[in-house]
Amino acid sequence: METGIWPLYYDSFSLGVSPDRLVIDPENEGAVVATYEAKCPVSGKLMNPPHPEYLLQVQAQIHAAGVEEGYLHVWTPEKSSYYRVTRDDLLWATVIKVAERFVVHHLRRDVPPPAAKDLSKEDDALLRSDIVNLLGATTTMISI
């Protein structure tokens, strides 16, 4: 099912989430049971595992739609890869903490974040490493 923006509002910032589709259960009054996100790389190359950026997007969709899982479909004209991503509330709490810092400490205060080469020196470096590890643990390649 096609859909629009599913908002998430937190204490100090808001997140707009647009899943490409919602997976519904026709036998349960059309209840939303999962989210679906398609990635169609212009390069035509599949990547395994998927990039953390894509997995973050799916976690956001899972939380916005209030479901337990989401599907990520990396599509090329020749072949596809499919992944099942499971909800992880601990991971999400860490994501929100780091995202909030970006919005509050940088966007709102007009303070540019440090350049990429200096990221490892930041307080968030350990959290980022945790996030990447946890994202990997939530993702399973599936065949359809």
């Binding site: 096609e2 859909t3 629009g4 923006i5 599913w6 908002p7 509002y9 937190y10 204490d11 100090s12 910032f13 808001s14 997140l15 707009g16 989430v17 647009s18 490409d20 589709r21 679906y36 398609a38 990635k39 169609c40 212009v42 990039h51 953390p52 950026e53 894509y54 973050l56 997007q57 956001a60 969709q61 916005a64 599907y71 479909h73 599509w75 004209p77 596809s80 499919y82 994501v95 780091v98 995202a99 970006f102 919005v103 940088h106 966007l107 007009d110 540019p112 974040p113 440090p114 350049a115 990429a116 990221l119 930041e122 968030d124 980022r128 996030i131 990447v132 359809i144």
Partner: protein, 89 residues
């Protein structure tokens, strides 16, 4: 401080992705899910600094278009997303 929705949530959910109204409504939020990666320093194509500059630029010049490369990738994804979804079903 709790920040409430500026518009009705059902209105947001009803917007057609890719439409002008959807593109405008995305600006109601501090971040979109596709910006989470760069915002956390985990972007595939953009750094946090690039995202920061892009958002500041958009705020001061709301009609500013994306770069050609980003537009091409967005358009390719938009065109083929329906193919992908059909294959998934």
């Amino acid at each position: 401080m709790e920040r409430g929705p500026s518009k009705d949530i059902e209105h947001y959910k009803s917007l057609k992705q890719g439409s002008e109204e959807w593109l405008q409504a995305r600006k109601d939020f501090d971040l979109t899910a596709s910006e989470l990666g760069p915002a956390l320093g985990l972007g595939r194509f953009h750094t946090r600094l690039q995202l920061y500059r892009a958002k500041k630029k958009k705020a001061s010049s709301p009609t500013k278009k994306e770069g050609k490369g980003a537009q091409k990738a967005f358009e390719y994804g938009r065109v083929h997303e329906a193919d992908a979804a059909q294959e998934f079903q």
